[in-house]
C-alpha cells in the first residue's frame, strides 16, 4: 500500500557526492536481476518505534545485535575477571561481590566458581561472538556488500533479533533461581547436567540454560536462512559468486554451516530438556544414581550427548572464526592497497574448512571413552583441517608482502588476528595428535587454545571490523590514536593473560578447578605466580576496553564526519552514503570486477571500486587466482 517509487527524495540525505561514489555507468547489467527490482523501495518508517526498535531494516537490526552483543561482552568479561581473581588468590574475599552468593563471608563458594566458568563460556560464545559476527556484521554488511536493498526476508530478520531477547532474559534470570545458574560447563555434559541433585546449578539453572540456548538457536537459524537466500538471490547485476568480497564468503559459508549443524544441537537440547523435566533417559545409563538419589530406569548413554553437542559445537567454533577470517581478508587487502593474494584458493580453503568441520567433532572426545579406533579417524580429519587454515595464513602474508601498508587501528587488529590465529592453530596440532592430547586434554592448554582462536582470533577480528566499518555504520570516524592505544594495550595484555596458560597447561593444571593449590603439583611459586601474572594482565585487558568504549561513545556523538569512502575501498558498501540511506543504494549498482583491484597500474588512483569498469588497457584478470 505504501510502495512509493524510488525517485522520491531519500529519507536521509546520503552524501552521494564525490568522485568515489559509484555513479552508475550506463552499461547494461550482465546478470542477475529482473528489471523493476528498483521499483519496490519502501521509505523508512516515520514512527520511531518501527524505525529504531521493531525495524525490519537490516542495518538497524545489525546495530541492535551489535549493542546487545557488546553489552554481553562486558558481562562475560566481568565473569572472567571473577574467575581470574579466584585463581590468583584462591578463597580470598572478592571485593564488593559477596552479595552475589548471599553469604556474609566474602569467599566465593566452589559451586559459584563453576557457575562463573559455565556462564562465562556460554555468554561469550552464544551471546557475544556469534551475535556480533553473524547478527551484527552479517546483517549490516551482507546486503550492502552484495548490492541489495535489504535481506530477502526482512520480517524474519527482525524476528531473529527479537528471538534473542527471551534468551537474554533467561540467561540472566538463571542466576536468580533456587540453586543458581548452571554449573555443568558451556558443554553441559550429562549426567552432571541432567541429574537434579548432582550440583546446585543442576537444580533449576540448567533447565533455564537449555531454554536460553534453544531461543538463541532459533534466532541463529532464522538468520542463517536469510543470509543464504539473500546471498544466492539478491546479488547486484554483475556480482557473480567469485566477485563476492571475502567477508560475504565467510558469512555465507558460516550460514550454511549453521543451517546444517544447528538442528542437531536443537534436538540435543530438547532431549536434555526432556531428560530433566519429562523423565526420559536419553543420556542416563541403566541404574544411574547420583548423590544417593533413586536409581534411573536408564537405557541411554552419556556419550550420546557429547556426539550430538560436538556435532554442532565443532562447526560452531568455525562459525565463530570464518566471518572474522573474511573480515580480516578485506581489511588487510584494503590497507595493504594490494589485491588479496590467492582469492580463489582462499574461498576454497573456507569451503574445505566448512566441509571438514563436519567430520572432526570427535576430537573433543578422544579421552571420553569413545572407541579409540574411532578416535584415530577423527585425528586424521582434524590434522587435515589445519591445512586450509595454514593456506589462509600464508595468503594473508602474501597479501601484505609487497603492499603499501597503512597502519590504521583496523589494520593493526587484523594483523594481530593473523598472528594470534597462528598460535591458536598451531596449538591445535598438539591436541589433534591423540597421544599428546592425553596429557593436554582438559588442562589449561585447551583454555589457551580456545582463547587464542576466540579472543586472539575472533575478538581481534571484531575489533578490526568495528574500527573499519564504524564510519559506515554511524557516519563518523573513530579516533585513530585512541584506537591504536587500545590495540597496543589489548595486544600486550591479551598475550600476558593467555600465553602462560599454555605453560601451566603443559604443566597439567586442570581447567574448571576452583582451587588448584590443594595439589602438591601446583602448590608452588611458579604455578601460583604465573596465575597471578595472568590475573593482573586480565585486569589490564579489561581496563583497556574502557578506551574502546569511550572512543566508541565519543566518536558516535562527536567524531569527525566520514565521507562515503574514507578508506578508499573497493567494495559496494563504500559506494553509497555513510550511513547508507534506508534503501542502501540510490540505484542498484552494477559490478564489473572482483573486490580487490588495488594498485592496478593502469588505474588513476590506487583503488578501483567494483562499480567502475577496469580500464580497457589493463591486462586481463588472472582467472585462476582472482
Amino acid at each position: 500500500m505504501s510502495s512509493e517509487p524510488h525517485h522520491d527524495a531519500p529519507a536521509q540525505g546520503p552524501d552521494l557526492a564525490g568522485p568515489d561514489t559509484g555513479m552508475a555507468p550506463g552499461t547494461i547489467p550482465t546478470s542477475g536481476h529482473a528489471p523493476g527490482h528498483d521499483e519496490h523501495i519502501h521509505p523508512a518508517p516515520r514512527n520511531p518505534l518501527f524505525r529504531y526498535i521493531f525495524s525490519t531494516d537490516h542495518k538497524v537490526i545489525g546495530i541492535q545485535f551489535l549493542f546487545s552483543g557488546l553489552i554481553f561482552f562486558v558481562v562475560g568479561g566481568l565473569l572472567a575477571l571473577a574467575i581470574r581473581w579466584q585463581l590468583a588468590w584462591p578463597w580470598s574475599d572478592l571485593p564488593h561481590l559477596s552479595a552475589l552468593w548471599d553469604s556474609s563471608a566474602g569467599q566465593m563458594p566452589p559451586e559459584f566458581y563453576n557457575k562463573l566458568v559455565t556462564m562465562h563460556g556460554t555468554i561469550m560464545i552464544f551471546f557475544v561472538i556469534i551475535p556480533i559476527l553473524l547478527g551484527a556484521f552479517g546483517n549490516f554488511l551482507i546486503p550492502l556488500m552484495i548490492g541489495a536493498r535489504d535481506m530477502a526476508f526482512p520480517t524474519l530478520n527482525m524476528l531473529s533479533y527479537w528471538f534473542m531477547w527471551p534468551a537474554f532474559v533467561l540467561i540472566v534470570f538463571s542466576f536468580f533461581v533456587p540453586g543458581g545458574a548452571s554449573e555443568a560447563g558451556w558443554t553441559g555434559y550429562p549426567p552432571l547436567s541432567t541429574a537434579e541433585w548432582s550440583t546446585p546449578g543442576s537444580l533449576n539453572g540448567q533447565t533455564i540454560w537449555l531454554m536460553a540456548l534453544l531461543f538463541a538457536g532459533i534466532s541463529s537459524m532464522m538468520g542463517s536462512i536469510n543470509y543464504i537466500t539473500t546471498v544466492l538471490m539478491l546479488r547486484a547485476p554483475g556480482m557473480t559468486l567469485f566477485r563476492l568480497p571475502m567477508t560475504v564468503w565467510g558469512l555465507f559459508i558460516t550460514a550454511l554451516l549453521q543451517a546444517f549443524a544447528l538442528p542437531v544441537l536443537t534436538s540435543a537440547l530438547v532431549m536434555q530438556l526432556l531428560d530433566r523435566v519429562a523423565g526420559t533417559n536419553f543420556f542416563s545409563p541403566t541404574g544411574l544414581s547420583v548423590a544417593n538419589g533413586p536409581e534411573e530406569v536408564g537405557g541411554g548413554h552419556p556419550l550420546l550427548w557429547q556426539h550430538l553437542f560436538w556435532f554442532y559445537s565443532h562447526p560452531a567454533v568455525y562459525i565463530m572464526i570464518l566471518p572474522a577470517m573474511g573480515i580480516v581478508s578485506d581489511v588487510i587487502s584494503t590497507f595493504s592497497r594490494k589485491p588479496l593474494f590467492g582469492y580463489k584458493p582462499m574461498v576454497f580453503a573456507i569451503g574445505a574448512i566448512a566441509l571438514l568441520g563436519f567430520i572432526v567433532w570427535g576430537h573433543h572426545m578422544f579421552q571420553s571413552g569413545m572407541n579409540p579406533a574411532l578416535g584415530a579417524t577423527f585425528m586424521l580429519s582434524t590434522m587435515m583441517i589445519a591445512l586450509p587454515s595454514a593456506i589462509k595464513t600464508f595468503n594473508w602474508l602474501g597479501t601484505m608482502w609487497g603492499g603499501s601498508i597503512h597502519f590504521t587501528a583496523a589494520m593493526l587488529n587484523a594483523v594481530a588476528f593473523v598472528a594470534m590465529f597462528v598460535i591458536g592453530g598451531l596449538s591445535g596440532i598438539f591436541m589433534a595428535a591423540t597421544p599428546t592430547d592425553i596429557h593436554i586434554h582438559d588442562t589449561y592448554f585447551i583454555v589457551a587454545h580456545i582463547h587464542y582462536v576466540l579472543f586472539g582470533g575472533s575478538s581481534f577480528g571484531i575489533f578490526a571490523a568495528l574500527y573499519y566499518w564504524f564510519p559506515k555504520m554511524f557516519g563518523r570516524m573513530m579516533n585513530e590514536t585512541l584506537g591504536k592505544i587500545h590495540f597496543a594495550l589489548s595486544f600486550v595484555f591479551f598475550n600476558g593473560t593467555f600465553f602462560p596458560m599454555h605453560i601451566v597447561g603443559m604443566h597439567a593444571q586442570p581447567r574448571r578447578y576452583a582451587d588448584y593449590t590443594g595439589f602438591e603439583l601446583f602448590n608452588n611459586e611458579a604455578v601460583i605466580g604465573l596465575n597471578q601474572l595472568m590475573t593482573v594482565c586480565a585486569i589490564g585487558l579489561g581496563l583497556s576496553q574502557l578506551i574502546l568504549v569511550s572512543n566508541f561513545v565519543a566518536s558516535l556523538v562527536a567524531g569527525r564526519k566520514a565521507g562515503a569512502n574514507p578508506w578508499r575501498a573497493n567494495t559496494l558498501e563504500w559506494q553509497t552514503g555513510s550511513p547508507p540511506p534506508h534503501y542502501n543504494f540510490e540505484r542498484i549498482p552494477t559490478v564489473y570486477h572482483p573486490a580487490y583491484e588495488y594498485s592496478l597500474p593502469e588505474a588513476e588512483s590506487d583503488y578501483l571500486p567494483q562499480t567502475e569498469p577496469r580500464p580497457p588497457r589493463a591486462e586481463p584478470l588472472d582467472h585462476i587466482m582472482a
Binding site: E111, L192, R337, F341, I405, A419, F430, A433, N523
Partner: protein, 403 residues
C-alpha cells in the same frame, strides 16, 4: 611504522622462548614439591637427623652414676635451644602452607621435646635421672618419626620432558617434542615473514603496491608441503595411540584393581587373597592407589554417578570415567615414589578437590606387604584412631559448600 613490527616480533620471540624453555626445565615441568620447597625439606631432614643423634646422646646418660659432666650438660643446652628454633621454623612453614597439618603437629612435638630435654637437663645437673631421660628420648624419637613420615609423604619428582618416567610418557613426550619442533619452526617462519613484511612494506609516498593476485606455483607449494607434513604426523602418531589406548595391544595381565570415581572421591577395590575382584575379601581404599614399579598395570575404571576423569600427569595417562561403562586403563611407572591422581572432568562443586595419593612400590614384595597389612587393618579395625593418613590428607581449603 617500525614500532608495530617490533611489537609483533618481540611477542613472537618471547612466546617461542617460553614455549620451548618451559617443558624442558626440570624444576618447571611437573616440578618436585621437594625442589620448590627445598628450604623446608632441608629443615625436615635436619630434624630427622639431629633429633635422632640427640636422642642417642640423652640415652647415653640414662645410667650415669652421678650428675652429668659440664660438657654433657652443655650438649643438652644446645640441643634444647636447637629444638626451640626448629619449633619456630616449623610454625612458619605451617603458616606458609607447607604440609600444613603435619608441620603444625611437628611444631608442637618439637616444643614438647624441647621441654623434655630442658627438664632432663635440670634433673641430670643434680644426679642420675633415668625417668627424665626416658621421657626426653621418647619425645625426640616421636619427633624423628614424624619428621621421617613427613619427608616420605612428599611426592616424588619426575616427569619432565627430559626425563619421562613411564612407557606412555616416553612415547607422548617424543611426539610432543617432534610437534614442538615442527610447529616451532612454522611459527618462527610465519612470524618472521610477517615482521619483515610490516617492516619493509609500510606505506611511503611515491611507492605503489605490487599488483598481483597470487601465484599458482606458490599456492601449490604451500598446500602440498604442509599437507605432507600433517599426513606424516597423523600416521606417525598412530603407533603411540594404539599402544596406549587400544585394548588389543594390552598385555595379558589381570587387572590390579577396580577404580570407581564418585562425587568427590576415588574408591579403589583390590582383589583379596582369592585374586578376584568383587568378592567378600577385597580390599577397599579411598583416595589411595598402589601399584608396583616397572609392571604394566591395568585398572578397570568406572563411575558411580557423573563423568570424572582419571588423570596421572607424571605418567601421562588420562581417561574419562563414564557411568555405565567399564574401561580398562593401562599404565606403568619406571620410578617408585608418591604421585598425585587428579580428576580432570568437571563433576560438580567439589571437582577441584578430587585428589588421590598414588604410591608406586619398589618391588612386588613391598606391595604385597602393604596389601596384607591393609587387609588386616580392614578386617580387624583397631579402635578408632586418628584419621589414617591419606583419607583426609587431601588439603581441602575452607570452601563452604553443601554435602
Amino acid at each position: 611504522m617500525k614500532a608495530w613490527s617490533l611489537l609483533f616480533g618481540l611477542t613472537a620471540v618471547i612466546a617461542t622462548a617460553a614455549f620451548v624453555y618451559a617443558p624442558f626445565d626440570e624444576d618447571w615441568w611437573l616440578p618436585s614439591y621437594r625442589a620448590t620447597n627445598a628450604e623446608a625439606m632441608a629443615t625436615l631432614e635436619e630434624i630427622d637427623a639431629r633429633s635422632g643423634a640427640l636422642a642417642g646422646e640423652v640415652e647415653a646418660m640414662r645410667d650415669l652414676g652421678g650428675p652429668a659432666s659440664a660438657e654433657q650438660l652443655e650438649g643438652l643446652d644446645s640441643g634444647r635451644r636447637w629444638l626451640a628454633r626448629q619449633a619456630v621454623r616449623l610454625g612458619m612453614m605451617a603458616d606458609q602452607g607447607f604440609l600444613s597439618e603435619r608441620s603444625r603437629e611437628l611444631q608442637s612435638r618439637a616444643a614438647l621435646a624441647s621441654e623434655a630435654v630442658a627438664s632432663a637437663r635440670e634433673a641430670l645437673g643434680i644426679g642420675p635421672a633415668p625417668a627424665a631421660v626416658e621421657e626426653a628420648v621418647g619425645a625426640l624419637e616421636g619427633l624423628r618419626e614424624r619428621a621421617e613420615a613427613a619427608i616420605a609423604s612428599v611426592s616424588e619428582p619426575g616427569g619432565s620432558l627430559r626425563a619421562p618416567i613411564s612407557s606412555a610418557a616416553r612415547q607422548i613426550d617424543h611426539l610432543y617434542v617432534l610437534i614442538l619442533v615442527i610447529t616451532g619452526l612454522t611459527f618462527v617462519g610465519v612470524m618472521g615473514a610477517m615482521v619483515v613484511a610490516l617492516w619493509r612494506f609500510g606505506a611511503k609516498p611515491g611507492r605503489k603496491a605490487v599488483y598481483s593476485h597470487g601465484s599458482l606455483k606458490v599456492e601449490i607449494a604451500w598446500t602440498v608441503i604442509p599437507g605432507a607434513i600433517l599426513v606424516f604426523l597423523a600416521l606417525y602418531q598412530l603407533r603411540a595411540w594404539a599402544d596406549i589406548k587400544f585394548k588389543s595391544s594390552y598385555p595379558d595381565v589381570a587387572p590390579l584393581a577396580e577404580v570407581t570415581a564418585r562425587q568427590f572421591q576415588w574408591t579403589i577395590r583390590y582383589p583379596g587373597p582369592d585374586g578376584q575382584i568383587g568378592t567378600g575379601d577385597d580390599l577397599h581404599t579411598v583416595n589411595d592407589l598402589h601399584f608396583v614399579k616397572g609392571q604394566p598395570t591395568i585398572i578397570r575404571l568406572k563411575s558411580d554417578d557423573v563423568l570424572h576423569s582419571f588423570f596421572l600427569p607424571q605418567l601421562r595417562i588420562k581417561q574419562d570415567a563414564v557411568p555405565g561403562m567399564d574401561i580398562p586403563v593401562l599404565f606403568d611407572a619406571d620410578k617408585a615414589g608418591r604421585f598425585e591422581l587428579l580428576c580432570a572432568e568437571l563433576c560438580g562443586w567439589g571437582h577441584y578437590k578430587m585428589r588421590a595419593q598414588v604410591t608406586v612400590h619398589e618391588t612386588q614384595d613391598e606391595f604385597d606387604e602393604w596389601l596384607a597389612r591393609s587387609l588386616e587393618e580392614q578386617d580387624y579395625p583397631p579402635p578408632p584412631a586418628s584419621d589414617p593418613d591419606g583419607v583426609a590428607a587431601a588439603a581441602v581449603p575452607p570452601g563452604p559448600g553443601v554435602e
